[in-house]
Symmetry: C2
Amino acid sequence: MTTSAVVAEAPVSAPAATVLHTVTIDLGERSYPIVIGAGLLDDPATWAGLPRASCAAIVTNTVVAPLYLARLRAALQPHYARVLEVVLPDGEAHKDWPTLNRIFDALLAAGADRKTVLFALGGGVIGDMTGFAAACYMRGVPFVQVPTTLLAQVDSSVGGKTAINHPLGKNMIGAFYQPARVVCDLATLVTLPPREFAAGLAEVIKYGPIADAAFQDWVEANIERLVARDAAALAYAVRRSCEIKAAVVGQDERESGLRAILNFGHTFGHAIEAGLGYGVWLHGEAVGCGMVMAAELSRRLGLVSAAWVARLERLVAAAGLPVRAPTLGADNTARYLELMRIDKKAEGGEIRFVLVNEAGQAMVRPVPDALVAEVIEARGSAT
Amino acid sequence: MTTSAVVAEAPVSAPAATVLHTVTIDLGERSYPIVIGAGLLDDPATWAGLPRASCAAIVTNTVVAPLYLARLRAALQPHYARVLEVVLPDGEAHKDWPTLNRIFDALLAAGADRKTVLFALGGGVIGDMTGFAAACYMRGVPFVQVPTTLLAQVDSSVGGKTAINHPLGKNMIGAFYQPARVVCDLATLVTLPPREFAAGLAEVIKYGPIADAAFQDWVEANIERLVARDAAALAYAVRRSCEIKAAVVGQDERESGLRAILNFGHTFGHAIEAGLGYGVWLHGEAVGCGMVMAAELSRRLGLVSAAWVARLERLVAAAGLPVRAPTLGADNTARYLELMRIDKKAEGGEIRFVLVNEAGQAMVRPVPDALVAEVIEARGSAT
């Protein structure tokens, strides 16, 4: 896995967009660039050099469509004889087969052939569904990710995971399928609601503790600029997040082991999401709080100092994220443990957690329930 | 693409099965063997060395289950702590999402993990659906093909095509996904209805004209043994068919060009199937007749002699397949041309056909409608 930080060529035509970084995801024949900049959506150079086809299809949702669909359509029209639009309902509740099938219905009704290029315009749900549709339509067509949320830019851009949910489990039906290109237009982040923006910052914050202490220092020093959505600061945060995720995923493309460190904060986080009911806290909010809990667990195992935990807690709070765990009913601690045991499909043994040290290194280890219980009790009472 | 004809090791334990050939499909990391023999289903050696897992799932249909499900289950039980069974309704009409979803429902309800091995026990529909389920379940689990029809043994064994149908088109949603192993037990062909067996022979006959004149000679010399379902003759026919298909597909895994020669007889055949209504003639019956028509077309283009066409016609008839084209209504010829134009998505120009010469070579060429019309008229009146 190699990453290159500087784009080779400046955009050749107006309107002037600022390409700030390009991260190359090196996967042999399936390598692709993540282009990061401000105003990329309207820049013709952004869309040059993609697989040639007579037909493109933009898949988006009812929230994003009024904001950016017309602009993306206008940008693509010089490249494709036909540009189809598929506008899906918004939200995780629609990440299912009937909604996915609306993409197939639209493509087949329009006679879209097996060279058709799909464009995912939206957040993680749109990216996951469009990517899976591209993996399956006529056994595979190219697709381009245009993530319009910070979470999608720093998370779904790398890793090739696509999926839909099944009533019995999230992301149970899907494929590993790589995009032809990812276009992260930082200008689209301006329209993100504050809670969603903060939720994206949780994943940015995550990359420091698990892999790069210097990046954690940088995020701390620049958290106000990030919260103010400064394009240059965001560009570096997105770039470095993608680089770190790429380095981790590159050693474990099919998710057999190392990749698990990307779930720092997620075991506690998933328990919070499931315990409160999905959607009460955003995923990133639960992860933000979960990271503080996982840091506290790391401290109790002697991996980090109390000062370091306090530092991480301040950073998470500065991002606008919760740092105290919500109460999940009368048997609070038992409920947390139960939910985490289900999430990890632990077979009677100890639950495994992603732990960190102060050098920016992560490890996955089983932890005794008693110690986990102490953390839940010490970091609780958000509600 | 290399093929090896002889299995390295004899089965080590009773009951004694006869492994007659092993064809290795060479796809780098995704290479797999096609094991061909009589009595393989009950032989423990057949099922050794597959990916280790605690759970296996046999997917089959209501016709095949009473014949072979218990035997496969018994053979797998020594290797897997749990062997799930998913029995689907029979037929192409059920090659759809709701039926596919029954596989996911069963796997998730049983808590089957991402190492679960799926076994496709049945014909082409079961193979296509199980392969696609394996491609998608938790983003990919291993699967093993156990084709119980001649058509599936000589066609679906090679190529990695999996799919389901969509109301607007056959095989529109799927994946290229390779099995871990294919087990062709010739003993299972004994229970095939005569029409289905003959339909499988159509694809066997196909491989000679498109790629190997010597194999065509062999099939002619052995057609009575094949029709009598002689195991040794069938073993060679399945082996050589798989080898030829592997050689073609190996040069064109993602179906960009050469692979089209595998559709010899299929352009006329698809028109017959669609024109009569799917299921009136079996696919193989339509292909049998379609090959004679494509041979006649080749003759009118100077590629083969009338004697060669007569030879192929005798062979197709000896296999128990129709050789005269059915009438598709009052505007018979126009209807054929219309159906073939839809099938090929021809954009106003001439329809492309797979043509052959007497040296066992195929080519894909556009042919003027007038010449195609002559063939339809000359080879018509089956009904």
